[in-house]
């Protein structure tokens, strides 16, 4: 317990969390600070490029084993199953309509890549190594939850899924860049890394600070717009659901036999909620659902929760039960 708290305190005072807090504060104080859309998009491309490539190089260095396939499958199952749990929980503790609840649920099966990156940083500064292929697992977990969400409303005749949408979901830019960079990292290995290391390794933390500043600004502005959503039920959901997800993630990790680092990352993936891929898919397939509900919960509640308290908590949980 002591440890969790000191870890959490240390995490709260890391530059990335502080820049996120700065962003939220600036937004709430109605400062006009903004990161231009193109710059924010550029930074997020950089982050995907860097973590994909690093993951691939790690796989190339350490080789792969059976756990890769199992972890990918675990990720897909988690992404597919979590929305059903989330939906049940939401219907129980909130007054959200079926449609809104299904849309929210879809977000919690999918993942937040920035939360994943932040967790990677925490692991790194704690000197914990994780399986390089976890970024591939992240990519694999983006989409299945969307299908679950649409299943959840299909009985009501809502939710339109067509070929174009499926292609859009599976080939969305983030997934393609992440997976593509992963394979290129894998193919080019240490030699490739030597060439582009100066761009993707050392400046990474600094760039992440800027990105979290932007996330803070966006989350803060979203909170102001969506404060109507923040009744007790949804609020509790937004902090309880990630913990539930992380427990399931931990269970899978133990079964598969992931390393401590890998276990934490799978927990974080299960715990985090999407705010890019799933909202876009929902706008197309389920336009009746209210975006401010799912965006406020995912980005305004769950993302900050994971970033500040969640990650240290999951690390503590995993450390407690993990063999070593």
């Amino acid at each position: 317990m002591q440890d969790v708290l000191s870890l959490a305190a240390q995490n709260l005072l890391s530059p990335i969390v502080l820049f996120f807090v700065l962003g939220v504060g600036a937004a709430l104080a109605r400062s006009d600070l903004t990161i231009p859309e193109a710059v924010a998009k550029g930074i997020s491309l950089y982050l995907l490029f860097a973590i994909g490539f690093k993951g691939g190089v790690a796989v190339s260095n350490n080789g792969i084993d059976l756990t890769l396939g199992m972890t990918l499958m675990a990720g897909v199952i988690l992404s597919f199953v979590l929305p059903f749990i989330a939906f049940a929980l939401l219907r129980w503790i909130s007054q959200l309509s079926r449609t809104d609840a299904a849309a929210v649920a879809g977000h919690y099966g999918s993942i937040s890549i920035v939360t994943f990156v932040a967790a990677t940083s925490v692991l790194q500064s704690s000197g914990i190594v994780a399986e390089g292929y976890m970024v591939a697992v992240a990519a694999a977990m983006e989409a299945p939850a969307i299908f679950s969400a649409l299943l959840l409303v299909s009985s009501g005749g809502k939710g339109r899924m067509d070929g174009a949408l499926i292609r859009e979901i599976l080939l969305n830019g983030s997934i393609v860049l992440l997976v593509g960079s992963f394979f290129i990292g894998w193919i080019t290995g240490a030699e490739g890394m030597a060439k582009i290391e100066a761009l993707i390794v050392s400046p990474f933390q600094g760039v992440l600070c800027l990105f979290l500043l932007d996330m803070g600004l966006v989350a803060g502005r979203g909170l102001k717009q969506g404060r109507a959503v923040l009744r007790p039920g949804p609020l509790v959901f937004g902090m309880l659901m990630p913990v539930i997800g992380s427990c399931l993630g931990l269970a899978f990790a133990l079964i598969i036999g992931l390393s401590l680092g890998g276990a934490v990352l799978l927990m974080v993936l299960a715990a985090s909620a999407s705010y890019i891929a799933v909202p876009a898919a929902m706008r197309v397939a389920l336009p009746e659902a209210n975006p401010s509900v799912y965006l406020t919960l995912s980005l305004g509640v769950t993302f900050p929760f994971n970033l500040t308290l969640g990650i240290p908590l999951y690390l503590a949980m995993a450390s407690a039960v993990h063999g070593g």
């Binding site: 903004t34 990161i35 231009p36 859309e37 924010a40 998009k41 174009a164 600004l217 966006v218 989350a219 502005r221 979203g222 717009q225 705010y275 890019i276 909202p279 876009a280 706008r283 197309v284 336009p287 009746e288 975006p291 401010s292 965006l295 980005l299």
Partner: protein, 103 residues
């Protein structure tokens, strides 16, 4: 300078629906249109601004289409198909156009 009567249809729609609208227009034989960026706005579904949208693809665009009057209805039906369940605004106004041979 010779001018010809035409209709100007402006559709404000979510960016994510743009490709579907393009396809519907092309399907309806509408071969000319332009897409303009929208920075923000306000409507029944609240107010938004490009810099605040969480998923940065979350903004809207304006599709402008200059069209012969006789083609208007077919075009509106095709567009309506796409816009129907979604937020957005469709307006039609009169205009004149130079170089009508190009339409």
């Amino acid at each position: 300078m010779e001018k010809h009567d035409a209709k100007r249809v402006a559709i404000i729609i979510e960016a994510i629906m743009e490709s579907r609208l393009r396809q519907a227009l092309e399907g309806a034989g509408v071969t000319g249109f332009s897409v303009l960026p929208v920075l923000g706005g306000s409507g029944r579904s609240g107010s938004w601004s490009r810099d605040d949208t969480v998923s940065r693809g979350g903004g809207m665009v304006q599709v402008i289409c200059i069209i012969r009057p006789e083609k208007l209805d077919r075009m509106l039906e095709a567009a309506f198909e796409v816009v129907d369940r979604h937020i957005g605004v469709v307006t039609i106004s009169d205009c004149q156009v130079l170089r009508a041979d190009r339409f």
